[in-house]
Symmetry: none
Subunit: 193 residues, 4 copies
DNA sequence: GATGAATGAGCGTTCATTCAT
DNA sequence: CATGAATGAACGCTCATTCAT
């Protein structure tokens, strides 16, 4: 019940969980997840003490993966707007390329089995994004607001945009661009670019 | 000739459902809802055929209530920004004054027991808001985007703001004002006001 | 809860009960019976204290009706075989003309809610048949067996024949005739007729 | 690699089901059956998907057991009457030795949860009896009747006789003998033996 | 008396978790 | 370690019966 060897099996369970949650919701039986992972009923509990544990670890894993995808290849210096644009694009691309993970994440985000601790853990994975936003908002209309609130606003717009992109794949790029401009107006205000 | 079916009881069940869902989530036992409503186990099913039915009717009721609260006293004419501000304020005020209903609504919004039909029914309750947004975005940066996407973006910002206001009641007004400006920037762009 | 006026309503409930039991079985809700009888939920319990009571009274009523149908117009004297044949024909005819009542009766016959008392009550309704069988078996192979056993054997053959007649209405008369000869052989033996 | 599914437990559940159904009827709670089998509530559903499934499998099992008991040791050739007598005796003996199974079978026989498929499956177990009856009726009064009807008549007499034997164990043998002669008269007519 | 809303015990089935193999 | 059988608490829903109108 501790932390057993096979990292492969562990990963398989997490992947299966995301997939099953995406289609069946959080009430999906653990047995369904185990089956999808090609693992026995009981094995799941060898890797995760509890269904709740599994949910929390999955939440952190997905959120981390998403954060890493967003900042991958992000230039360390340069024009802030361009760098944010880069991040925004990769972020939304990850979401639209991984619709199941995204759906699972959306469910986990509001699940009350996911603890405050997990939410806190995850904040670290967004440090790069936070720093970038900090730079972008300098001198703008939200410079005196708590950064966390800015993050939340940005995240909300991103979420809504992801939904729209997944729902209408044809307009995905257009939605992404429109939303980026909106975000920029939110955090940087009516500046020329 | 017998006791008539009581609208009061029905309302009590809906209210109890919102409250219980807010604290226990959508998996809360129907028995808990009935108990909280001061009604017997079986009575709940006299007023609502199914747990799913209850969820759907609750969703529509809450969404309608929220919509009506938002447009209450909305002047029919006048400066669009002022009118949107009026609506925004009442909207967020309802949410912060009814945190349980809001939490329940958040859960129902993503529940897959809530039918497409229910979501459609609810769209009408947002007609006033939609029309106002249509006016506000005229000539602005999102004038050519589907209105539905603008509604979603606005809703997402509102949701995030509600969360923040409930989490930090001390900064509620400040968050509300900040977010309104952000929304205005999103839909009307860098116009003077 | 005693015995209220409207004999009509009472009869309607019994009729509805037979019909509903025939199609839904003994586990059919009392509400279904009440509805079919055009009577309210609660009224049923004004006429019958209990579902079990209803079953018992229905059993007696149906069995009585069947018994009376069988002996209707039965000549009081004359050739025993002819008289038995008369009774047999009317008996089976009632069953095939009232398939719902018959089905209900078949279910009630084996229901353990139907008390021994009800079974005893019903025995009286078969007195005429018993007397006739007593006459018929005189000097035959079952003259020394308990009459009750002869009655049971006869009833079993009749039941099986009714089933067959209802299942294959085309061969109804043929089955009836074949079975009568069988019965006659059982009780009167290899006598010429 | 895990504990294998236990044929013993499965059998225990079937046995318990027969016993509980015999005393409480088909509406007996599955929990009562599980308890009687010394098995947990949930285990029952590991071995039988559904209460209905359990009923069907029990029906087939009991009917098969009864059929096998009847033909056990049946000489393949020889005097037809003697062979039928052998079968008849063993058949009724099984019923009187297993009154609970017999009661359960009687209930299942008329239950509408028991599928047509189950009834068909069971028909095979009576093939030997059918063939024997076919031989016995040759040249007799029911030689031109559908064999199925003859089987039904025979079964009805057997059933009634079993009831009588169980009710009056003192006269069991006498009832059995009397009924056999009756059956013989039915199918073979007034032949000397 | 008649109605039908109200009650609450009860049931079939599921599923997270444990444990024998 | 892995498996899957075993467990039993829990839940949604039904329905006989009671009772307010």
């Amino acid at each position: 019940m501790a932390r057993p060897r096979s990292e492969t099996r562990r990963a398989a369970i997490l992947t299966a969980a995301a997939s099953v949650i995406a289609t069946e919701g959080l009430t999906a039986p653990t047995a369904a997840i185990a089956k999808q992972a090609g693992v026995s009923n009981g094995s799941l509990f060898l890797y995760f003490d509890t269904k709740t544990t599994l949910f929390n670890e999955l939440y952190v894993a997905l959120k981390t993966e998403m954060g890493e995808a967003a900042v991958e290849g992000l230039p360390e210096t340069g024009d802030a707007r361009k760098r944010l644009r880069h991040l925004w694009t990769r972020w939304l691309r990850w979401a639209t390329s991984n619709p199941e993970k995204r759906r699972a994440l959306a469910q986990l985000e509001v699940a009350d089995e996911v603890t405050a601790e997990s939410h806190r853990l995850v904040r670290d994975t967004q440090r790069d994004m936070a720093e970038l936003l900090e730079t972008c908002r300098e001198g703008g209309p939200v410079q005196d607001v708590p950064l966390s609130f800015v993050l939340i606003l940005t995240g909300a717009i991103a979420d809504a945009t992801m939904d729209a992109m997944i729902r209408e794949p044809g307009n995905a790029d257009s939605h992404s661009a429109t939303a980026f401009e909106a975000v920029w107006r939110v955090i940087a205000g009516p500046t020329a670019h």
